[in-house]
């Protein structure tokens, strides 16, 4: 504020939306500051009132705040008034509020009462420190996660052994129901994807090999890559996305509804009831789906080879028979139960880790898919190393 204006009147008229005019007029004379408020002092006018009040205050040792002409007054207005009064007090100015109606006084006193408790602002740390803190927490959480997955594997292994010793504990009906849901219900999507992958691989392979005049080797390429890797990997990834996420969501929702807690109270082990049937179903179904995917992918590949390369079916089959041994087929299929186990374990574990809220179900379902696909690919790499060590 300009010094020469200090003793003059400062007026700020404030536009208010649909509530008429509201203003605050601050003037000073003979050591007394006079603040005259008019119109609406509400949340609608608060932004402009705040600006008006943030301008400097004139000098004085006493202040009178006149609310006679205030028509509407809500908690935001009361807060602004309280802030003004505090600011005056900080300058050593005693202020009196006059012209308040009874309701306004009640509201103001209530706000002053709460305001005196000085509601603390949520403390915010420095962004860099916050970033470091988050990074540290996440690394620690990832390590913790690995440990817990091992722990869960142990719990499930013990439960499986117990079930084998006491076959009474095996839940047959849910197991069969999960076999249907994981296996039969996913036949269309797995079949279609495998068929399309077969077509794509045959086409791309033929395109490259034709340059060397070796189109016929497309059949070898197809046979080896589909039976060894693509069939089982595609199936595992589709099932991780489809059923691994479903496991996490189903168990997670039960967790939110406290159904899992209810099970424990009734003396039922959630591992027996929820995890083992899903795991068994997955371990049984994934190899079968892999064989089915192999067949569908080969059908797609064969179709492409016959149509695009003009190789007759008999020659295709002959070539395939020469390039692919039964061992190649088994290498693919033998990986499937392991992948199935990983997908089922991850899905169920994420489901059981859901806490309280619906949002948590979403987070853990996503995690189930990401982690199971990650684990499947890691396991596949380990298998490759293992097979090359044994020269298979």
């Amino acid at each position: 504020m300009m010094p020469e204006k200090k003793r003059g009147a400062v007026q700020m008229a404030v536009e208010a939306r649909s509530v008429g005019e509201s203003s605050v007029e601050i003037s000073a004379s003979n050591d007394e500051i006079s603040v005259v408020a008019t119109g609406a002092w509400t949340i609608e006018t608060a932004a402009s009132l705040r600006r008006a009040l943030e301008a400097g205050l004139p000098d004085g040792s006493r202040a009178v705040i006149d609310l006679e002409a205030v028509e509407r007054f809500d908690s935001t207005g009361a807060w602004l008034l309280l802030v003004l009064q505090r600011r005056l007090a900080a300058d050593g100015v005693l202020s009196d509020i006059v012209g308040m109606s009874e309701e306004q006084a009640t509201l103001f006193n209530r706000i002053a009462e709460i305001g005196d408790m000085d509601p603390a602002h949520p403390d915010e740390s420095h962004p860099v420190i916050a970033l470091l803190e988050r990074t540290g927490k996440n690394i620690f959480a990832a390590l913790q996660d690995g440990v817990e997955l091992l722990n869960f594997l142990g719990i499930v292994t013990l439960a499986s052994l117990r079930s084998l010793l006491q076959p009474r504990r095996i839940r047959l009906v849910p197991t069969i129901s999960h076999i249907e849901r994981v296996g039969i219900d996913s036949l269309p999507i797995v079949g279609l994807l495998a068929f399309l992958i077969g077509i794509v691989m045959a086409y791309q392979g033929a395109d490259q090999l034709r340059r060397f005049g070796a189109e016929i080797f497309t059949v070898n390429l197809l046979g080896v890559s589909i039976f060894r890797e693509m069939g089982v990997l595609m199936t595992a990834i589709v099932i991780a996305g489809r059923s691994g996420s479903a496991f996490a969501a189903q168990i997670g929702t039960m967790q939110v509804n406290q159904e899992v807690d209810a099970m424990r109270t009734l003396g039922l082990d959630p591992i027996d009831m929820l995890v083992l049937p899903r795991m068994t179903a997955m371990v049984i179904v994934l190899p079968l789906l892999t064989v089915y995917a192999d067949i569908m992918a080969m059908t797609g590949g064969a179709l492409m080879v016959i149509v695009a390369l003009d190789i007759p079916l008999t020659q295709f089959l002959h070539r395939l028979n020469e390039s692919v041994s039964l061992g190649t087929f088994w290498i693919g299929v033998v990986k499937a139960p392991v992948f199935g186990l990983l997908i089922a374990l991850t899905g169920c574990r994420e489901g059981l880790q859901v806490t309280g809220s619906a949002e948590s179900v979403g987070t853990h379902t996503t995690r189930a898919v990401v982690i199971s696909i990650f684990l499947v690919l890691v396991a596949d790499a380990l298998f490759s190393v293992l097979f090359s060590l044994f020269k298979i």
Binding site: I43, A46, A47, R50, W79, T106, G356, E359
Partner: protein, 255 residues
């Protein structure tokens, strides 16, 4: 004040139905400004449906609803938004946004509807949270980290964010322990007197009814009977007599 100015909500000839199932049939009621009105009724009589119809979450089949003098059936979307910011709603479970902290939840309406500077928004948020009786350290917590009672208080802080004229509460004390429920009743009574609120609440809690309610709207036979506690004491309707003379009612009255 004109005569209609005395009423915050006026409902005339309201009919709501789901499919062929009629919930309210020609329901009329007028709720006075500045009073606490409780809606009571047996299960399935449409207490929450009535509340949802007033706030526009559910559309009536016939009848008019006037809230603060505006006919809700004749408003366009923008007008309805303008009207909606003059009331606050506390849902049964608090209905906090689970991905936001308590403070951010309270700030949602402030940021959406006002152009307040951010420091004033922070101050008002802290004030509203304190007003709802939550400790300051609750501000940065997520709803999943709060107890049921605290979640309701946080929901209340969000409902109060825009300084509403009417506060709708759906079973505010359900699921709270008796001490927490009594504190919540006291909080509502205190807010009513300090903010000059009109409170409309659905409740099953007889203690709240006796402690803070000015007027009771009883839903029976698809309509509302409005009256004070004293009037219902001698009411001939069998359900009302059973409600106000049952063992629980007697126990609540003695307190």
């Amino acid at each position: 004040m004109t005569e209609t100015g005395d009423f915050a909500i006026e409902i005339e000839g309201l009919v709501t139905r789901f499919g062929r199932h009629v919930i309210h049939d020609g329901l009329s009621v007028a709720i006075r400004k500045g009073e606490v009105t409780s809606i009571v009724g047996g299960s399935g009589t449409g207490k929450s449906v009535l509340l949802n119809t007033i706030i526009g979450l559910n559309r009536q089949a016939a009848g008019t609803i006037r809230v603060l003098g505006r006919d809700t059936g004749r408003l366009n979307e923008r007008q309805h938004r303008d009207l909606a910011r003059r009331w606050g709603v506390l849902f049964q479970q608090g209905a906090l946004f689970s991905s936001l902290t308590v403070a951010e939840n309270v700030q949602v309406p402030l940021r959406e509807y006002t152009d307040l500077p951010s420091d004033l928004i922070d101050e008002m948020t802290a004030l509203k949270i304190a007003m709802a009786g939550l400790p300051a350290d609750a501000c940065s917590k997520y709803p999943s980290e709060l107890s049921g009672g605290m979640r309701k208080r946080a929901g209340l802080a969000r409902a109060l964010a825009l300084d509403p004229e009417i506060l709708f509460l759906d079973e505010p004390t359900a699921g709270l322990d008796p001490i927490g429920a009594a504190e919540f009743d006291a909080l509502i009574a205190d807010l009513r007197s300090s903010l000059g609120l009109t409170v409309v609440m659905v409740t099953h809690d007889l203690d709240s009814l006796y402690a803070i309610t000015d007027r009771i709207a009883v839903l029976v036979d698809r309509r509302v009977i409005l009256g004070t506690l004293d009037e219902f004491e001698r009411h001939p309707h069998p359900w009302i007599a059973a409600y106000f003379h049952g063992p629980r009612a007697r126990a609540a009255k003695d307190d």
